[in-house]
Structure formats: structure tokens, C-alpha cells
Assembly symmetry: C2
């Protein structure tokens, strides 16, 4: 039973660090979103579209999680207010971001100026579901070329999500993906989840997603901060 015990300890330690992260974010009225998906589902593309749409309304920073490389941070660098890359390759868990990694990153961000912190998790539909980071919302992206069975095969990820983005809807003519069946499977696991159908290529659905996200940021006590800045 030794291993299970240790896992239990890691989980508990992660949860208490995550709680501290959220307190710090709340103190600075910075709203954090944890974006999770398979490799190649479009996490970075959704982040780039979100920044393009909301950067006039919000100061947006990004934390990029990857096993190796800084490819995603480089794509985001010129668009976000601040970007931090975390490489997990030599960490005990390389398959997910953990709260302790975010704690380090938060020390290097200008939280007092940030309204929205987008955290791109490691590309993985399993491990990130087990570790909260201190985020306010958990988002899962699922893309059409992956197939419409992902909620059934990776249920934990979808059960705990606040919103699911169905990305690459422009692929519909080329793939066998039943969007209503996928929506039913996700809602079956998680009746309260919000679903958005988007294409980062054509821009379809980005307005709906960003409008929901902006409302979430504004209604979570961050409104005051934005108003303060605007009125200066």
C-alpha cells in the first residue's frame, strides 16, 4: 500500500498549494483558467483567438505547460501581456501541470496588472484531470479529428469541466463526428457544463466563447479592478 499512500500525500499537498494559489489570485483580482486537451486539439490556437478578441477589454497573461520546448510560448509571446513557459520533462510528474509549478510561475507574473491568466496545460486527457492548480474555471477542448468518443473514453476530464470547447468544427465535412451525440455524452457526464462549437481557423463560435468568458471574469469580483483601471 506504500504507493497509494504516497499518491494520497501528493494529492493533498497539491490541493493545499492550489488553495494558496487561488487566494493569491483572488487578492489581485486575477481570474485563472486551466485549459486542458489532447496534444494538437488546439489549446494554443484557442488562447491566441481569445487574446485577439479580449485584449482590448482585459490584460491577459499566459502560462504555457509542455513536456519540452518553448514552441507554444513563442507563438503567444507577442500577443499576451506576459508569458511563462513551464517544461515538465524532468519533474516527478511530466504528464501534467501541478499547483507547485503554478506557484513558482505566479511569483514571476505582475499579478496586480493581470485580469485574466490563461494556463495551457500539458497535452493530455488523463493526468491534468487529477491536479487542480488554483484556477477559477476548468476548460476542456476536444477537436473533431480526434473522434466523437473522447468523453466516453476519458470521462474524468469531462466530468469536472466548467466548459467544453468543440474545436475544428470546420473539419465537419471531412470527418465522421456526430456533434449532437458528443454533446449528449458530455452532458450525460456533466449536466451543468457549457459547450461551445468553434473553429480557430474560420473564427466561428469564438464570439460566444469569449463573451461567456468575459462575463465570468467580470462577475467574479474582477469587475472592480477593470473599472478601476478604465476610470484612471
Amino acid at each position: 500500500m506504500k504507493k497509494i499512500e504516497v499518491l494520497q500525500n501528493i494529492m493533498e499537498a497539491n490541493e493545499s498549494i492550489a488553495a494558496r494559489n487561488q487566494q493569491l489570485l483572488d487578492k489581485h483580482k486575477a481570474f485563472a483558467v486551466n485549459i486542458m486537451a489532447s496534444p494538437g486539439a488546439g489549446k494554443t490556437s484557442v488562447i491566441l483567438q481569445t487574446i485577439a478578441k479580449l485584449k482590448d477589454r482585459l490584460n491577459i497573461a499566459v502560462i504555457e505547460g509542455d513536456v519540452a520546448s518553448t514552441l507554444d510560448a513563442e507563438k503567444v509571446r507577442n500577443e499576451a501581456m506576459e508569458v511563462i513557459q513551464i517544461n515538465t520533462r524532468n519533474m516527478p510528474e511530466s504528464c501534467t501541470l501541478m499547483a507547485a509549478m503554478i506557484e513558482e510561475a505566479l511569483k514571476n507574473l505582475s499579478l496586480e496588472d493581470i485580469d485574466l491568466l490563461l494556463i495551457e496545460n500539458v497535452g493530455n486527457l488523463i493526468c491534468p484531470s487529477e491536479f487542480i492548480l488554483g484556477e477559477h474555471k476548468r476548460i476542456v477542448i476536444s477537436s473533431l479529428p480526434e473522434g466523437d468518443d473522447k468523453a466516453t473514453k476519458y470521462p474524468v476530464m469531462f466530468t469536472d469541466a466548467d466548459a467544453v470547447i468543440i474545436n475544428k468544427v470546420d473539419f465537419l465535412p471531412y470527418v465522421d463526428f456526430d456533434i449532437p451525440a458528443f454533446r449528449r455524452a458530455v452532458k450525460g457526464l456533466n449536466p451543468k457544463v457549457r459547450l461551445f462549437e468553434v473553429s480557430c481557423k474560420t473564427g466561428a463560435g469564438i464570439d460566444d466563447w469569449c463573451s461567456w468568458l468575459l462575463t465570468e471574469v467580470e462577475t467574479n469580483s474582477h469587475k472592480l479592478k477593470i473599472k478601476d483601471r478604465t476610470s484612471k
Copy 2:
């Protein structure tokens, strides 16, 4: 350091069970292939195409690894000689198959009749790279809609592969994927790796992949077994 120690123990235990698995497979002249990829990259489709192409030459069994569901096993059931589903959801590591799970599965397979055992790992580009199962060859599938940066972002998986299948090449007109650049990135990590470009939809490239696989099965002392059976 407690956690690192425990991880070390798990890795060592896994390697010794994997060695036992391979001895058992060798005893029965059954050749095992570990197929790894992101969710939705086409592992099940490659398995179905491989069975269709080789079933007249080889007796093929399949082990399906998934967090939850039996969807893939159902797809393969009528095609393979035998199929076993492993669900990892309630196991200590849910993000990968481990040698101990394969050991259990092998007890339920007619190894004396099997020439080729295709093991579909859990959809994940990270965790499966850390656990050998007793397989003779390790195959990674990467599909065009995932993007051409996957070898750079998930290097361990590609460094240890015997072959990499570039799947969904029929998507080339619709995605921005630089096949020569991807090939260079993979070869940079792993100069000896074999690369195959295939489409499970159109059947392109399946002959090349299956021809290589058949040669591997035949040259690894399994030839005798097939010859024995054929001459009966």
C-alpha cells in the same frame, strides 16, 4: 525524496515483469507490438487495417487499453482472433498500460496459437513512454490534424520508438503540416527509426507498414511457428 524512491521501485518492478512477459511471449513465439499515440490519432484504425491486411498470414490478437469503456474492443472484436480490454480508470496509474496489466491479460490469451499481439496503449503521448510492457517493438502514431510539432514537444515517446506511423495523410490539403520537417524532427531524435506515411481512410501506405511488420514478425524466430502451422 520518498516519492522519487517509490517511483524508482515502480519502474524496477515494471521492468522485471516486462522481462517475464517477453520470456513468455518468446516461449510461445508470439510477437508483441506496443502501439502508442495521442487520443484520436488512429490507433484502432491502424490495428483494424493491419488485421485486414495480415490476417491470412498471421493469427492476430489484440489487447485494448483505455481509461474507461470497451468501445475499441468492440470495434476490433470481430476482426481479431482474440481481444482483451484493460480499463485503467481505477488503477494507480490510469494514463498508461503497465507490464503487470499485460501479465494478467496474457494469462487469458491462447498464446500458443497467436503469431502477433497488437497492444493498443492508452491515448497519451507521455506516460506510456515510461513503461515497457514486454513488447518486441514500440510504435508511435502521429496524425496530421495534431500538428507537426509533436516530436519536439513530446520527445521521449519518439526517441524510443522502433517505428513512427504518420497517419491521416489524406488530411494534407486541409491542415498546415510539414511532413519533411516532421520526419527531420523525428530522425533528429531517433536516427534509426522507421517512418511510414499512411491513411487508414484511403488505405495509402498500409502495404508498406504491413510489409515491414510482417518481416519483423517472421525474422524474429516466429517464422518457424508460422511454417509449422502452414505445413500441417
